[in-house]
């Protein structure tokens, strides 16, 4: 099943970390196995890199602390070698890191170079996007990564119930649209032409971090936008190109969009006011955000809606 949520503030930044945590925790019953966030803070000249050096369950093994530190140093060395001047690097967990760098080159070589370090997976790259995901429910992850207090304009989140793959970070949402800056997706549903699209996108030079069909959506949309499409245009095209039952949310540095497949088989509830747009799999999440009874609606089949910050 899984649950997705998104929020966009049109009246300026808010405590996104706390807001999305409330929304996601209220949908814990839809998936307590892992929780993820794609948060957009203030845009900066610095590039923000979120990466992990190990799956959480493997990070506590014998000699792992030394290995993780060795690999972290290697990451820092490689960043310097590729011309990325490291401004900050921190970690709340010992295996998941946040770095800010001064870097003006291509993102793909940077991501590839870092991921060549054993165990390294780049979760997100961008000037305002930060993807945080880990095992457990929203409150667990939020506390671990100190997310309450993360101020930003928009973000999306996901709670996952593992049904067809392992409980691990590789299968947790959101997915960054590697190697495109500041694009992320969360998805509830299944794509039935996953392999076809994966082969097509791999032939175009893209690589995937997981075996999850949701990652296809992120890369598919980002590639369309790279070729000049608007987010809304790319999402509308996806309704024809992607088979299956799905509802997904896509965020860029300035926009948040939702799309529902032609069968409208996966739920989504929408609340919109002048200042705030909130979407979620279940209304209970919107209540958790607003704290009061608000008028909501379910988008119909083949609806694509996009909001600007």
């Amino acid at each position: 099943m899984c649950g997705i949520a998104g929020v966009i503030h049109r009246d300026g930044p808010a405590d996104l970390g706390a807001e999305l945590t409330r929304m996601l925790q209220s949908m814990r019953h839809r998936g307590p196995d892992s929780t993820g966030y794609a948060l957009y803070g203030p845009s900066d000249d610095l590039v923000v890199i979120r990466f992990v050096l190990s799956e959480p369950r493997k990070a506590k093994g014998l000699g792992m602390a030394e290995r993780l530190e060795r690999n972290r140093v290697e990451i820092e060395t490689r960043l310097n070698k590729i011309g990325a001047d490291v401004a900050t690097m921190s970690s709340e967990t010992g295996y998941a890191f946040r770095a800010t760098v001064r870097y003006s080159g291509e993102l793909k070589p940077l991501a590839d170079y870092l991921e060549d370090v054993p165990g390294c997976e780049v979760l997100s790259l961008g000037h305002s996007l930060e993807i945080v995901k880990d095992l457990g429910d929203a409150e667990t992850v939020a506390e671990q990564y100190r997310l309450p207090g993360f101020v930003g304009t928009h973000g999306i989140g996901h709670v996952r119930m593992a049904t067809e793959s392992d409980v691990d970070l590789a299968s947790a949402h959101p997915y960054w649209a590697y190697p495109f800056s500041d694009v992320a997706v969360v998805h509830n549903g299944q794509l039935t032409n996953y392999h076809q699209w994966r082969r097509r996108l791999e032939r175009s030079g893209h690589r995937f971090q997981s075996e999850c069909d949701s990652e296809i959506i992120a890369v598919y949309l980002a590639e369309k936008m790279e070729n000049g499409a608007s987010l809304e245009g790319a999402m509308k095209q996806s309704l024809d190109d992607l088979d299956g039952v799905f509802t997904y949310l896509c965020v860029t540095a300035t926009e948040l969009g939702v799309a529902k497949d032609e069968m409208a088989a996966k739920p989504l509830v929408l609340f919109e006011s002048d200042d705030l747009v909130a979407v979620a799999t279940e209304e209970i999440a919107i209540r958790a955000l607003t704290g009061m009874d608000v008028e909501t609606r379910d988008p119909y089949e083949r609806e694509v809606l996009v909001w600007q910050v």
């Binding site: 069968m263 409208a264 739920p267 209304e283 209970i284 919107i286 909501t296 609606r297 379910d298 119909y300």
Partner: protein, 267 residues
């Protein structure tokens, strides 16, 4: 060990909860305000399970005949499995699966509802003042379900009886595999109306994006007029608009002696 097996002595019937999401030891909280034959439950701080235990305590133990639930907070499965005649009012919006599997209550919801409201209802009535999500009235077996706003997709899927009235629009696959009963849609209908239906009647006042497989226009009778007028009168819905009627063409399913291979050629 979280959630595996109910503790010894539990009477909840919950015996497997791998992810620790159930409340195996829950008991009715006893927080409702009782006033003669009516009662009021404030659901603000209650989980679904506690709301329902309290509701059943009031109806089945205290013998209350009219209960008002306030602040339902979009919680799921509120009021499921009520099997006696009574009145239940909801001030606010419950979430998914509200009042499913009920047999007898008159329910009035002064708000909107999420997916699958009144699923498998056997008798009684559910009136919703706002909109409803998808799968509204799924597998409805009897009673009346009235939605004054719009509803989502697959309204009355697998409906086996009863009447669904929607004052607004309905989404895709309304009446999918409907087997019996009636749907009265005052607004527009999405694609695949009545797809693969077996029987029953669907009345639509607005436009229809497309008819589903084996859903065909039906002949209007005095009984149709009488039914619609009666339902509108009972629920105070004003003057009914003009409707088109749709029924099953009885070409898709086994209403004949054709072999499956022959049927492909005929349909």
């Amino acid at each position: 060990m979280a959630g595996v097996g109910a503790p010894s002595g539990s009477t909840s019937g919950v015996n497997y909860d791998a992810r620790g999401l159930a409340e195996p030891n829950a008991e009715a909280p006893g927080t409702a305000e009782i006033d003669g034959n009516t009662a009021r439950i404030d659901a603000t701080d209650l989980s679904t399970r506690l709301i329902n235990l309290e509701l059943k305590r009031l109806l089945n133990v205290e013998g209350i005949d009219e209960v008002t639930i306030v602040n339902p907070g979009a919680k799921h499965s509120v009021g499921v499995g009520i099997l006696r005649r009574c009145k239940i009012n909801v001030e606010g919006s419950p979430g998914w699966f509200a009042f499913g599997l009920i047999d007898g209550p008159e329910v009035h919801i002064n708000g909107r509802v999420g997916w699958s409201c009144a699923e498998n209802m056997m008798a009684g009535s559910v009136v919703i003042e706002g909109c409803a999500g998808s799968l509204t009235g799924a597998a409805l077996r009897g009673g009346d379900l009235v939605v004054k706003g719009d509803v989502g997709a697959r309204t009355g899927i697998d409906q086996k009886g009863g009447t669904i009235i929607v004052m607004g629009n309905v989404g895709i696959n309304t009446g999918f595999m409907m087997q019996r009963g009636r749907q009265i849609i005052c607004g527009n209908a999405g694609h695949n109306l009545g797809d693969s239906m077996y029987d029953g009647e669907i009345y639509v006042a607005g436009s229809i994006a497309s008819l589903g497989v084996d859903c065909v226009p039906g002949g209007w009778t005095d009984a149709d007029t009488e039914l619609i007028n009666r339902k509108f009168r009972i629920y105070g819905l004003g003057d009914p608009p003009e409707f088109q009627k749709f029924v099953c063409g009885k070409q898709l399913h086994n209403y004949d002696s054709l072999e499956p291979s022959e049927r492909k050629l005929v349909i």
